[in-house]
Amino acid sequence: MTVSTDYTAQEIIVVAGAKVLEDNKIVFVGTGLPMVASLLASRTHAPGLIPVFEAGAVGPPLKHGLPVSVGDSRTFTGASYVKGLNGAFELTQRGFADFGFIGGAEVDMYGNLNSTMMGDFPAGYQKPKVRLPGSGGASDMAASCERTILIVPHDKKKFNEKLSYVTSPGHLDGSPNARYNAGMQGKGPYRLITTKGIFDFEEKTKRMRLIQMFPGETVESIQAATGFELLIADNVTEFPAPTVEEVRLIREEIDPNGVFVKRAAK
């Protein structure tokens, strides 16, 4: 399998995201890169992957390609069940979603995500420095999917000790059974995929831990781009660069119009 030499940061995120997904599992897919990664997974090692979209569609074959909205016509055709937003989230609350796959603008060491606002909280909540779109379904997936996979572009300004706002709860403050005690369900953040590597959350402390680095990164380069102290797994490996075939699938078959995967070179 020839290694690609011109893959982009978004493309390696997509490839890494796809590889984290397991075949025959139900994955609740947020809008954007998670959609692309899920399609790649189902066209490679996970043909039995079952996507769920928050506007309601369960298990569509996506024969007409990448949706541009988690509520569009492409998510609907051939689906096994479509009952609107309440239907999708009730399924999830019940325990039908093995994985939730979400993005965020800011993340902390416990996998809590912010997609609400940047600025001074709570004082500046009603007049934020930057107003982000809002939770969408992310906080619901975070609260009720069995495990969540997070995507956040790696940037010191986005990896912070304290978030401006906790939109999507992860491991909260990392204390034992924090999620259970708060009334939530599911095991919480399972993997984080950034532009620099793949992370898990160490079992005892629930702290973000580097487990795989993308080509060209070092433990130091990654720590330097992170606003808190990372845990480092004992055997950090290098995540292999995307293959030519993977990149071709993304560019030519899955997102040929660059709807979510932009064409800018790395």
Binding site: A55, S69, T77, G84, T116, P133, S168, G183
Partner: protein
Amino acid sequence: MENSAKMFWTGLSPDEAREALVNKDKSMKDKRMTLKEAVSRFVKNGDNVGIGGFVNVRQPVAICHEMIRQGFKDLTLSFQSAGMAPELLAGAMIANPDKFSIKRVELAYWGHEAFGLSPAWRYLAERGLIEFEDWSNYNMSARFKAGAMGLPFIPTRGPLGGDIKNTSRTKIMDCPFTGRPIALLPASNPNVALIHVQAADMYGNCIIRGTDATCAEIAMASAHTIVTCEQLVSHDLLTSNPKDIMIPFPAVDAVIQVPYGAYPGACRRHYWFNGDHVRQLLGCIAPMCKGGAPDALKAYYDENIYGVESFEDYIAKIGVKQLLADKAAEAVHCERLV
């Protein structure tokens, strides 16, 4: 958790919502009227307005155009995830706050997914020009559902753990059956619901194709509902499979056939997104976030809304070729013999 007689309801309180429905004529009567008449009869200044659809799928765009033409003040907008509907309403406020204003938004997401962020949302929020209350998609959907069910609240597992519970009217209690914490969300009962559907009969029975989003819940939670539809068909045809009906007639007050009523968003079986047109509006607002002039935005409204008599005139400007292309783009997803 304390009991609060001081709870503020931004639409109708549960008791008021019940009373409104009890006093309403729920008979099977002809509810066809013009969009102009529907908006002037059922939308009032200060209303809490429930917006149907999901992001740019089946947004009630035609109804929003008419609301902008008529002008309303101090509206509260309630929705889960929306794109063009709040963008158009907020753009009207940004262009001319004396003619149109939003006081408050209760929402999960305001943006356009693949077509970009919402500049109007950033503009209004970052300048402190509107109040808002953040929820999630399930939270808002469940709040409408509680309203539709005639309940004052509904329990959910989220928002637990994050900040949404701290910036909203959520209450957390210990479940009396399990002892574990659970969130209680107050019902949302808007004054009026704005809904676009594929098909309706003159009594207001509605068929929705593709995702129902939260349209049925919003319609049934609201005191009044305005429905626009791509097709207005006979009651007998519409009820040929009763389970296709997602909104029953007594929940609807006005029915207007408006082809392309969700354009430039998408409407299953009818048309795919016109992303360029969505981006055109966003492009008129975006520069204003950085202090730019409102000229382009005003021109957009003059051209597409104020300068036309009806939504039909706006659609006519889009042109036949573009509309056929959008129809063809949708047709591949749900091929059907006509």
